[in-house]
């Protein structure tokens, strides 16, 4: 490990941990000896690669990614708007906060079943990811708004800084870290809740439906291949979004 930079050491230890768990998984699968009970990592990755050339695979991917991503962005907008209203009007905060608390405490499965009564299953993952992520944005952005540096706002008042410049130079730099952490949490939650909604609602041509079918036909390698894919997309979308976010932060808050 000598001669390695701290970031290289960290990467190496992460890789070593991943290899350890993969080997353990492989060993457990071999010990059980039944692919139906626990498919090996090799057969899961192999199944994933055999799915790639299928047109239906890409259609399912597009179906779920588009709806869950849209749900995330709608939650971003609605959470931000509600937090702004709550920060400005105490009555709005008194009204919205319990509602947000109820959404947070209610099991996602209850919402999924309830929403199935109101909406067609094709829109379920969009609505559920939106519903689950909205409180995350609401709480984080509201905390950011409540922790704004009042002394800087007073300074802007004395110097009669225009609202546009206040937004860019005072509000954005202080609020962006709250948006960033909310986005990181919300993206993972959107994927978990969105796919859970699809598994229950079974919209045709979705990742959730493919997961459910794999379970019905005891296709454990395919079930785990879809799960692996969901994890990969979730991590990738989070990394991509946060990279984009950091790029915007650097441009907005440049020297």
């Amino acid at each position: 490990m000598k001669g390695l930079s701290p970031s290289q050491k960290k990467r190496l230890s992460t890789l070593a941990a991943a290899v350890f768990w993969l080997l353990l998984w492989q060993a457990a699968s071999m010990a059980i000896g039944h692919e139906i009970l626990l498919a090996s990592p090799v057969s899961v990755v192999y199944r994933l690669f055999t799915l790639l050339p299928e047109g239906e695979f890409w259609k399912a991917l597009l179906f779920s990614v588009s709806r869950i991503t849209l749900g995330f962005f709608l939650a971003f907008l609605s959470g931000t708007l509600l937090s702004m209203l709550s920060s400005r009007f105490s009555l709005m905060k008194a009204l919205i906060s319990p509602f947000v608390g109820v959404i947070r405490a209610t099991p996602v499965a209850s919402f999924i079943i309830l929403v199935l009564l109101w909406l067609p299953s094709r829109r379920l993952s969009l609505f559920i990811s939106f519903l689950m992520a909205t409180p995350i944005f609401y709480s984080n952005v509201l905390t950011g708004l409540e922790n704004l540096d009042r002394r800087l706002l007073e300074m802007a008042q004395v110097f009669e800084v225009s609202p546009r410049r206040r937004f860019r130079f005072l509000y954005l730099p202080q609020l962006l870290p709250y948006f960033r952490s909310a986005s990181a949490i919300a993206l993972g939650l959107c994927w978990k809740s969105g796919v859970a909604a699809e598994v229950i609602g079974l919209p045709q041509g979705s990742i959730g439906e493919r997961l459910y079918q794999a379970k019905i036909y005891l296709e454990t390698p395919e079930l785990l291949a879809w799960t692996l894919l969901i994890i990969l997309i979730s991590i990738l979308s989070e990394k991509l979004f946060l990279k984009l976010f950091d790029l915007i932060i650097r441009r907005v808050v440049s020297c």
């Binding site: 300074m155 110097f159 800084v161 410049r165 005072l170 730099p173 440049s254 020297c255």
Partner: protein
């Protein structure tokens, strides 16, 4: 001329200003001195419109543009010094801002974020921001705190040169600073009323 008449301000049970009256002559630097806790910063905040007095009137501030150096620097830490100056002076060009920074020895740090600046460097940026903003009255609350002897002298000379003939309200604890800059002195003892000299 700014006329302050019969100003009262309390925070809960604590009376900070009681029947305070004074005048700030136009085109001159008025220095306010007094012990800690006698109400200097409260008066400063009232004049800036950040606090409302319980009673009393202030005449001559209506429609006037204000600029200020607060007791704290109140800079945007993630931004560099140039955007900090431009934030309060929308018409200020980058070249002009760089030239101002050079005047107070900050040219080498022009591209660094304020968060990396020392206390003295931040203070000089806060002063340049106040001086470069368009204003009719300049308010300074202990503007030279945190500066070493040499930088303080350079900065005081700079402030003196750039505030000639302007209306300035200046709070300090340091009699040396008051001697150097003020043309009109108000002593605010812990008991009122103020002594206008």
């Amino acid at each position: 001329m700014i006329q302050i008449e019969g100003l009262f301000k309390s925070f809960g049970e604590k009376a900070v200003l009681q029947n305070f009256s004074c005048s700030l002559p136009a085109g001159k630097t008025t220095c306010l001195m007094g012990p800690s806790g006698c109400g200097k910063t409260t008066l400063f905040r009232i004049l800036l419109g950040l606090e409302t007095p319980d009673h009393g009137v202030i005449l001559g501030l209506e429609g006037k543009r204000k600029s200020a150096v607060f007791q704290e620097d109140r800079l945007c830490e993630t931004l560099g010094p140039v955007p900090n100056l431009q934030l309060c002076s929308p018409g200020l060009s980058r070249e002009r801002a760089l030239s101002l920074l050079k005047d107070l020895g900050l040219e080498d740090s022009a591209l660094s974020p304020i968060s990396t600046f020392s206390g003295g460097m931040k203070r000089r940026v806060a002063l340049l921001r106040a001086l470069s903003a368009p204003y009719d009255i300049l308010f300074l609350d202990e503007p030279f705190q945190g500066l070493d002897k040499e930088t303080k002298q350079l900065t005081m000379d700079y402030v003196k040169k750039h505030t000639q003939g302007k209306t300035v309200f200046f709070i300090t604890h340091d009699p040396g600073e008051a001697d150097e800059l003020s043309q009109h002195l108000i002593l605010l003892p812990s008991t009122f009323p103020a002594i206008d000299q």
